[in-house]
Amino acid sequence: MTENAPLTKKDFSSDQEVRWCPGCGDYAILAAVQRTLPKVGATLENTVFISGIGCSSRFPYYMNTYGFHTIHGRAPAFATGLKVVRPDLDVWVISGDGDSLSIGGNHMLHVLRRNVNLQYLLFNNQIYGLTKGQYSPTSDVGQISPSSPYGSIDQPVTPVRIALGAGARFVARGYDVSKQLPDVLEAAHRFQGASFVEILQNCPVFNDGVFDLITDRKKGPQHQLWLEHGQPMTFGKNGEMGVRLNPQTLSAEIVTLGENGITEADLLVHDETNRNIAWLIADLPDVKALGVLYREDGPVYDESVRQQVQMAEERAKGADLKSLLREGHTWTVS
């Protein structure tokens, strides 16, 4: 590599052998991230991947950047501390559905509502892979697993709704083998603040085919609603499907254009600055809204920290440790 040669996907790959199961969706996500970084002008030394525990959390070892494989569920807290002292770094949090929504639910909530300037990738495979296949907080009711031999009785959570509820200002969704995933990642990277991206990911060993309905090459497009800001929500092979607001139930419903006189004018127009719309389309039956569901700028935590420090420095007017020790009453013994 010469000094100024543009970086490539290969530059971002570490020398470590990737050890996910053959066919794991994580390979595709890794490739998408490695492809995205050169495009967004990332440098090796200023990029940091921070993960928790789980299959997804091995991710940093495969990146030729700085990386920190931390403890279960806490990656957002490590990332927050790092960003507060080093806002110059480009930080990516890598997590899974168990890591983020069970053990680390609290930290995901707080890193999003604080709007720390980082990218938060949640690999959702609806199962615990590393511990050999127990149901996760996103598993469907009835999921048979070693810890739920009669089927899971837990109600699943919808990750993007958790993010929206936490006050996240950038919420997006993609899936592992999607060609558009790098675009979603690029948008996440561009956003100033906490960018939350749920990535649907197949676990070929413990939950194979869980997202087939969405990701299947042939049938998938009938179930993928790719969002575009300012455009009516249409999808399907020929754009014949759409999403309409039902004013009676205040819910989004799937409609077919042309049926019952429905035209494009009846459809919801995507407004990515509208949190309510994002909420409505976050959990459609048999259809996944993909791309950017919600995006709105707001105060960025690490910048606010910086501003307060600056303000304190101005107000202190050169006060130092010596003057600190003499704050309030002192007296001299001679």
Partner: protein, 634 residues
Amino acid sequence: MSDVEKANGTASELPRELLDSVVIRFAGDSGDGMQLTGMQFTTATALMGNDLATFPDFPAEIRAPAGTTYGVSGFQIHFADHDILTPGDAPDVLVAMNPAALKVNLPELKRGGLLVVNTGAFTKGNLKKAGYDTNPLEDGSTDPYRLLDLDISKLSLNAVAELGLGAKDAGRTKNMWTLGLMFWLFGRDRQSTVDWLEKKFAKKPDIAQANILALNAGHIYGESAEMPSGIGVYQVPKAELEPGEYRNIDGNQALAWGLATGGKLASLPVFYGSYPITPASSLLHNLAKLKHLGVTTFQAEDEIAAVCAAIGASFGGAVGVTGTSGPGVALKGEAIGLAIATELPLIVCDVQRGGPSTGLPTKTEQSDLFQAVWGRNGDAPLIVLAAATPGDCFHMAIEAVRLSTKYMTPVVLLTDGYIANGAEPWKLPDLDAIAPFPVHFHTDTEGFFPFQRDPETLARVWAKPGTPGLQHRIGGLEKNQHSGHISYDPDNHHAMVKLRAQKVANVAKDVPEATLELGEAGGDVLVVGWGSTYGSIRQAVQHTMKKGAKVAHLHLRNIWPLPRGLEDLMKSFDKVIIAELNDGQLLKLLRAELLTDAIGHQKIAGQPFRVSELVEMIETHLPGGSDARPSAVA
């Protein structure tokens, strides 16, 4: 009260009785403002040039039901014309603002002591709430004391009547009235309190005025009213302190300032992540004010996030610090283990309180020693330090930063509620005289791997993100000792566990050798202490030494690794007593590490040692005492 001689008149024109030391306890309902009253008395006393020590003792409830014994809040101050180390045992003066405060504290007042009581609060209802069947002011209960009973509630209301305040605000001035009276009794200057009131209530001038009126009224009452016989005014002359500039400081304040100073000496920013917890919260409050001095504070969502954020900051090249009490340390255990495995600096300040579980949040104890030394999964050694006094917190915080950054390992710094909240006059250190220890980050790409070590300290290199060519990954999985890649190799794991242990053990070469605080080696009894018991043990040993006993005091500031020379010193004594405020944790540690046959002396009452009880204990172990070792060896 102690020795007496008549001194000549002071401002009040009365002859003042000369005392060498006084212990005053202010006690009232937790809403009566006793802590504020005590702190104001402390400031005024420090400005008079006395040496002093304080002991705030308050309930966990912010406002426990009024009038109940469990809602009683106390503040004890010991001040003297000589060097003192503890807030005193039994008070000479008790101020009881209500029956419950009297009930809780009267048994401890010295016989013949001065008892100041607010009779206005001695209503039928309050007497009943305190568990009194008859009024103790009328049934002879107070006969052994010199009673000064005043309706302070009414006197303070009268004093502020002209302002036409609401009953609530006017009623709240009774503590300032009482303080005014106490200032008069002990000849303290009111100005520092007046200044403080004006600043505190700058936006509520009528409240400031009311409190100042009450303060002055209490003082004037003393000057003009006829006091019962046996009650006069007192003088405690200035203490002979080492020359220098002094201030009052409590342990958490000293700790905060020490951390900021440590950061400067290491040439690093300080990051403090914390979740509020008694009695560590004021550490966060103090540090939050130091943004202009390179300190960033982060109030995390929980204890775990607090320590994780601190480790994240260390990864980024700052000094990551977290502070908490015992329950918080329990929650942080896994993350501390990660800092050990990834060999990053981290300082964990544990302001101990009574345990287990929620335990006694506002009471002091030294029961986190095991947790600090051994409280993690795996073989996970780290450095454990303990501060001895409020002022010592400053120096130990600097030492924690030095060791943590030099050895690339977490340090647990133990303090406790007693020194965290207790104040003492503190001679300001000469900051220019403290040797800096600037951190040098690794930047050399030649042959770099993340677990490259300094051959002497065994500390690994600190290569922070942003450094070109040094990209690397760290984590909690065991790493190959050379490449830093994940390794499940059996021999490598053995070697890494030993390496981490050796690295921490090496710290012993870098810290002071064990020395005696008092006494000489080879005596009859050695009392070993650690942490906040320093003052009580020292005074008790001093007392018995004066009587001719061959007794000595050794105080540990380095709990892990133990200092060099400790074993030899201990073995030179006929008997070694380990005195601590727990069920024998240092005792067990020293027995295990040094095979010493030491004896334990424990107090697990949520209260510090009294000097008198330690003196008594030491005497039983001296030759001829009831617990003395038989002279003939079997």
